[in-house]
């Protein structure tokens, strides 16, 4: 982890308001792990003030690819970075996903922009010889992560809220059919989606009568408004069974069993 001045080597809009920005940095390439993120300064100016956390989407020997969702003033500046521009990047940060050596079949659920760290994870898992199913949800077909960005060995399932592509409904509705098959479940996306994943994979913990207690590992990458990303400002906490934990430092990846969902999302 360090402050890096890195050069943008490619910038492609893969979906509306979503860019894949490649940066050259052998140090980031060498040290980054799936599930980690970087914290990018919007500009040398002080408005917009705070850095923006961006998921590491692809890890290469000579750098990383970042998924940049251009939804606000700060992320729009970063998403507009021209090839050759310099970015002030802090990272890699946070606790990464872990793949148990005995796990062979991995089910992954990505909501919207949350697909980014799962692409890095799926790529690593395929490299280890695992079977991977990646389920992706979006509001409409326009916002569905393009399959050609994925390793071909990854089985791909799609759900859209408006039914314009794939399953008509929430992506979490696709998960139950893969539960028995999978050795481990991974998810990243909006907090209500992550809670739904926890509910499906840990029904007993949600008081569902007669539900089996599953020990299958479930790892969730949480989202929260972030300040320093160094564990200092204590701005990005989520409630867990160990009290408030910092998404930037103690996460973003948490075990589903750790989370306390009450009041986490308004």
């Amino acid at each position: 982890m360090d402050l890096h001045r890195v050069t943008v080597t490619a910038n492609e809009e893969i979906m509306p308001q979503t860019h894949v920005v490649d940066v050259a940095s052998p140090l980031l390439g060498k040290s980054s792990k799936p599930g980690q993120f970087v914290h990018i300064r919007c500009s040398p100016m002080w408005d917009p003030l705070l850095r923006r956390p961006m998921s590491i989407f692809r890890i290469r020997p000579d750098g990383v690819s970042l998924m940049v969702r251009a939804v606000g003033d700060g992320s729009q500046i970063i998403a507009a970075s021209a090839v050759g521009a310099e970015l002030d990047v802090l990272g890699p940060l946070g606790r990464a996903f872990t793949i148990d050596p005995s796990a062979r079949r991995l089910a992954m659920v990505g909501g919207g922009y949350g697909v980014a760290p799962l692409v890095a994870l799926a790529t690593e898992a395929i490299g280890r010889g695992c079977e991977v199913v990646l389920l992706v949800g979006a509001a409409t077909a326009d916002y569905v992560f393009p399959a050609d960005e994925l390793p071909t060995d990854v089985e791909y399932g799609v759900a859209t809220v408006d039914g314009s592509l794939g399953h008509h409904g929430f992506v979490t509705e696709l998960l139950p059919r893969y539960l028995d098959w999978s050795d481990a479940v991974y998810a990243c996306g909006p907090t209500p989606m992550l809670e739904a994943v926890a509910r499906i994979t840990r029904p007993a913990a949600f008081g569902v009568a007669g539900a089996m207690r599953s020990q299958k590992p479930v790892q969730l990458a949480m989202e929260q408004r972030m300040g320093c990303a160094m564990g200092v400002c204590l701005g990005c906490v989520v409630m867990t069974k160990n009290g408030y934990q910092r998404v930037c430092r103690d996460g973003p990846v948490f075990q589903a069993d750790e989370m306390i969902w009450d009041g986490l999302h308004a």
């Binding site: 402050l3 408005d47 003030l49 705070l50 200092v232 204590l234 701005g235 990005c236």
Partner: protein, 333 residues
């Protein structure tokens, strides 16, 4: 004392003097190698940024606010971005007094950078317990008395809200601790000069001016305040002109050192505070954006003094005051 900033016979200048003493009347003193501190709540317990920042080059580190008992803090969302600033309502999440004494102070003791423990009580008795317990603990160079955190209320009021209770907290801490006391004022008051004078009279060695400005952001989609705590403290460049003005007014009234806190991002910002009368500055929110802001300002101040052939930073303190109000120690430049 060596001469500073004076060209030697070989033509190379000796470095200008950046040393300042924030507690000249205290038996321990609070002498810093330079006037650039990092503000409470923006630098953790000092350890978090060690891998990124040469922390020993900072003037002093003000610790995360410490309370008698550990505190979990407020529910999220706790922070929000605003124009050139941010709101926070962390709620003083911290390891508690014992955690600081047992886990943190032994680390601080090994450092050359002084650590000032920021203490926050919900009653006079709690302030006494905090100040008394920390007195004589190796690794703690001074206390910053937080009478002004806008998130903790005692009977609906802040100690910082009026001169009488601000002075009472200061007196209580003074009575149980020999450590240098820097009292951190709230900007959310009608007459901050009156409170500064009362705190000075009650035995403060220095003032930090100021804590965050109380603010609010409304989420128009949800039609309610964005922060779970509803209100939060505004910090960052947005507040700088307000706090510079307060420092300018307070330093013309008090004779103890004042430390300017609010929106310091660069050397020029720090110089504004010094010229307005501050003996030192604290870098706060800027640490989140560039953790090396404080050490970069240390270098920048040194370069500025050298460039302007000023031997000692003290020559600039209050130089922007009206001529009659400039402190006696100031040499007009």
């Amino acid at each position: 004392m060596p001469e500073h900033g004076v060209a030697s016979k070989t033509g190379t200048a000796t470095p200008p003097n950046l040393r300042v003493n924030l507690a000249p009347n205290n038996i321990h003193g609070l002498e810093l190698s330079n006037p650039v501190l990092v503000a409470s709540g923006t630098f953790g317990y000092g350890t978090e940024y060690q891998s990124l920042v040469d922390i020993q080059r900072i003037g002093a580190i003000c610790s995360k606010g410490i309370t008698v008992r550990p505190r979990a803090g407020n529910p999220p969302p706790r922070i929000a971005e605003t124009p050139a600033g941010m709101l926070n309502a962390i709620g003083l999440q911290n390891v508690g007094l014992r955690g600081v004494v047992v886990e943190k102070a032994p680390i601080w003791e090994r450092w050359s950078v002084p650590v000032i423990a920021n203490i926050s009580g919900e009653s006079i008795a709690e302030f006494e317990e905090l100040a008394g317990t920390l007195d004589g603990v190796p690794g703690i160079a001074g206390l910053e008395v937080n009478i002004s955190c806008p998130n903790i209320r005692d009977g609906g009021r802040l100690f910082a809200d009026d001169a009488g209770s601000a002075a009472a907290v200061t007196r209580a801490c003074r009575a149980v601790s020999t450590l240098p006391l820097m009292v951190k004022l709230s900007p959310n008051v009608g007459n901050i000069v009156e409170i500064a004078l009362a705190v000075e009279a009650a035995g403060a060695d220095a003032l930090s001016v100021a804590n965050t400005l109380l603010g609010m952001l409304i989420d128009v989609d949800r039609r309610r305040p964005y922060l779970a705590n509803r209100t939060g403290g505004l910090s960052g460049p947005a507040v700088r002109p307000v706090i510079v003005r307060m420092v300018y007014q307070i330093t013309q009234a008090v004779s103890i050192p004042v430390v300017g806190v609010g929106g310091v991002t660069c050397t020029e910002d720090a110089l504004q505070y010094v010229l307005a009368g501050a003996t030192a500055v604290q870098v706060g929110t800027a640490n989140f954006v560039n953790p090396r802001t404080a050490t970069e300002i240390v270098d920048g101040l040194s370069a500025y003094l050298q460039q302007h052939a000023i031997a000692d930073i003290s020559e600039l303190i209050g130089a922007a005051h009206p001529p009659a109000a400039r402190p006696a120690v100031t040499t007009p430049v």
